[in-house]
């Protein structure tokens, strides 16, 4: 495949105005599926989380999951949407084995939520308002594995294997209106938007929102129009963008690719494109079907949903603080600098740090653990920091430090124990023998030994150079394998000097 020509990004923006639109799919974390009582699980053996409904077997009928509807309404409200008085499901017909029924149950002209807007904060603190067109309920499709081709992709595959565990998992698809005026920050705006949605659904507790597992997926529509034109250009829809960083890169790439084509006078083809993380490029998929080709019609197997106004108000009252407001509050409460706070947000660890503080740790320590040791270890193991330990465990660890049971060095060892699942903090301290020695007898013996090799220290302290005690503390620590209670050693040395 020939490599696409790209125009320099700044030059592309001089000539064209980018307009973006985003479709975000959120998998809801209900116990069972959208229309069937099969479990909604990730990673189960193939075709074990299925019922006849998931397999489209004759005679099986869908029934709506009440909690999926509640979650969808909560999400719609958090996106500032109107909640429909009445809404309906529709069949979206297409023939592909990822759904056995040959149609997807979705919503078409009567979505559950519509006309919203969401404020998102960019890296520099600017707020951009994203207009939301609609949020509708639908079911996820099964997973296909293509076998036979050299690449594992569909091209050249001999056959495909289908696992219907994911078929019927509840989804909410959130569709924005065209987003204008983002200019060179189009990619950043998209990333901030998806990241805000991730925060919202986690805050609501309605989705795991793990992009690497496909709980949260983003399709990015990009079009360019020559400066001064009113009419929107032809758009492409880039799929398979499954990390925040890729969203930004994919949009930037499409702007550069389309600009190069338009500049040569070549028309943009309205099509689906696939993002390739490895090469940082997009490649064409199928031409985009018109809505007509899906032959949508009202789902005859399901009845309309009319959420009562009482339910809507009950869910509205239970909404958590919006992410932007929560960030402002936490930053003030924790007394962090812009830089320190942003680093947590950008690392995607705000939820973890907040929960650690809520579990009793002070904000500085909570930040230190998550941004330091845990991020470093997670990076080495190539996993998310949140998969290593829970915020409660981190708070327990810090509480042992605060109580003087362990010092920072021993705490890092205890953390390694937590990551290795060796038990609770107390059990690990016990098993690994990590308690600091604050027994005066043992400490005095070590201090005496250290003083013997550095006899001038006591005189220095007596003459006012208290910092000289550091040399003795260091020597005692070394002698006791890092387990000495540094504060007590310091007291004892100073006591000795003034005796």
């Amino acid at each position: 495949m020939a490599k696409d020509a790209l125009m320099d990004f700044d030059k592309a923006l001089e000539k064209f105005e980018p307009v973006i639109g985003l479709e975000v799919h959120v998998e809801l974390s209900t116990k069972s599926k959208m229309f069937s009582s099969a479990s909604n699980v990730f990673g189960a053996d193939p075709n074990t989380a299925v019922t006849p409904v998931c397999l489209g077997l004759p005679g099986s009928l869908p029934v709506v999951n009440k909690d999926a509807v509640r979650y969808s309404i909560s999400l719609g409200l958090a996106l500032g949407c109107e909640i429909a008085e009445t809404c309906r499901f529709a069949r979206k017909n297409y023939f592909y084995p990822d759904l056995a029924k040959n149609y997807q149950i979705s919503q078409f002209d009567e979505p559950i939520a519509f006309e919203g807007s969401l404020e998102v904060e960019l890296d520099n603190g600017d707020i951009v308002t994203i207009p939301i067109e609609r949020a509708h309920m639908e079911e996820d499709a099964g997973k296909l594995t293509h076998v036979g081709g050299a690449t594992g992709r569909i091209q050249g595959a001999e056959y495909s294997l289908v696992d219907y565990n994911r078929a019927g998992v509840p989804l909410v698809e959130i569709v924005t209106k065209p987003i204008y005026g983002t200019e060179g920050r189009a990619g950043e705006v998209a990333r901030a938007y998806v990241s805000t949605i991730r925060d919202i659904v986690r805050g609501l507790g309605i989705s795991e929102a793990r992009m690497e597992r496909g709980n949260l997926r983003c399709d990015a529509n990009v079009s360019l129009r020559p400066r001064g034109d009113e009419k929107l250009g032809t758009r492409t829809e880039t799929k398979n963008v499954n990390s925040l960083r890729s969203i930004e890169r994919a949009i930037r790439y499409e702007i550069q690719r389309q600009a190069a084509l338009l500049d040569k006078g070549t028309a943009i083809i309205q099509e689906t494109r696939h993002w390739h993380e490895d090469t940082g490029t997009t490649s064409p998929g199928r031409p985009k079907s018109d809505a007509d080709d899906y032959r949508y019609f009202p789902e005859p197997d399901l009845l309309p949903i009319r959420p009562s106004r009482e339910l809507v108000e009950e869910l509205r009252a239970a909404l958590p603080e919006p992410p932007a407001a929560q960030r402002r509050r936490l930053k003030a409460e924790w007394g962090f600098s812009d830089l320190d706070f942003k680093s947590i947000v950008n690392a995607g660890l705000l939820v973890e740090v907040r929960e650690t503080v809520e579990a009793g740790a002070n904000p500085q320590s909570a930040r230190k653990w998550w941004m330091g040791e845990l991020s470093r270890t997670a990076n080495e193991m190539n996993v998310e920091p949140s998969s290593l330990v829970t915020p409660t465990q981190v708070a327990e660890l810090q509480s042992a430090v605060d109580a003087g049971t362990i010092n920072d060095k021993l705490a890092r060892e205890a953390l390694a124990g937590l990551i290795a699942n060796e038990g609770t903090v107390a059990e690990i301290i016990e098993k690994r023998g990590l308690t600091v020695v604050s027994d005066d007898g043992a400490l005095i013996a070590a201090i005496d030994a250290a003083l013997a090799s550095q006899p001038d220290v006591l005189e220095k302290i007596a003459s006012g150079k208290v910092e000289a005690a550091g040399a003795i503390i260091g020597a005692v620590m070394k002698a006791m394998g890092g387990k000495a209670d540094a504060a007590r050693v310091r007291e004892l040395v100073i006591e000795r000097a003034s005796a």
């Binding site: 069972s32 099969a38 084995p97 294997l161 696992d163 032959r295």
Partner: protein, 99 residues
């Protein structure tokens, strides 16, 4: 008069992944046209101020609690499959049209 042409039939056949011979296209074009014309008679009976009905029974909010039940084993799930690999359905590779 309906708007069913041979192109419409070929397009629908393509969407439904059905291979048709030219003779079948001709036959189906006239048959589908007749069917659509017959259904169009409904328009004569219904005036514009009658709202569309998607379900004959006036009911709403029929739902189930979020509880897991009645799952199949993979052996049961694959019972009727024309082909499988022991845990997954095996199907002909089709150029992608994921929703």
């Amino acid at each position: 008069m309906s708007d069913i042409t041979e192109d419409t039939v070929r397009h629908l056949a393509n969407l439904a992944r059905i291979a048709l011979t030219p003779e079948e296209v001709t036959t189906l074009t006239s048959e589908l046209a007749a069917i659509v014309s017959a259904v169009e008679k409904v328009n004569e009976a219904v005036s514009a101020d009658v709202p569309a009905t998607s379900h004959p029974i006036p009911m709403e909010n029929v739902w189930r609690e979020d509880v897991v039940a009645d799952e199949l084993t993979s052996e049961q799930a694959l019972t009727g499959a024309p082909d499988h690999d022991g845990s997954r359905f095996r199907v002909t590779a089709i150029l992608g049209e994921e929703a």
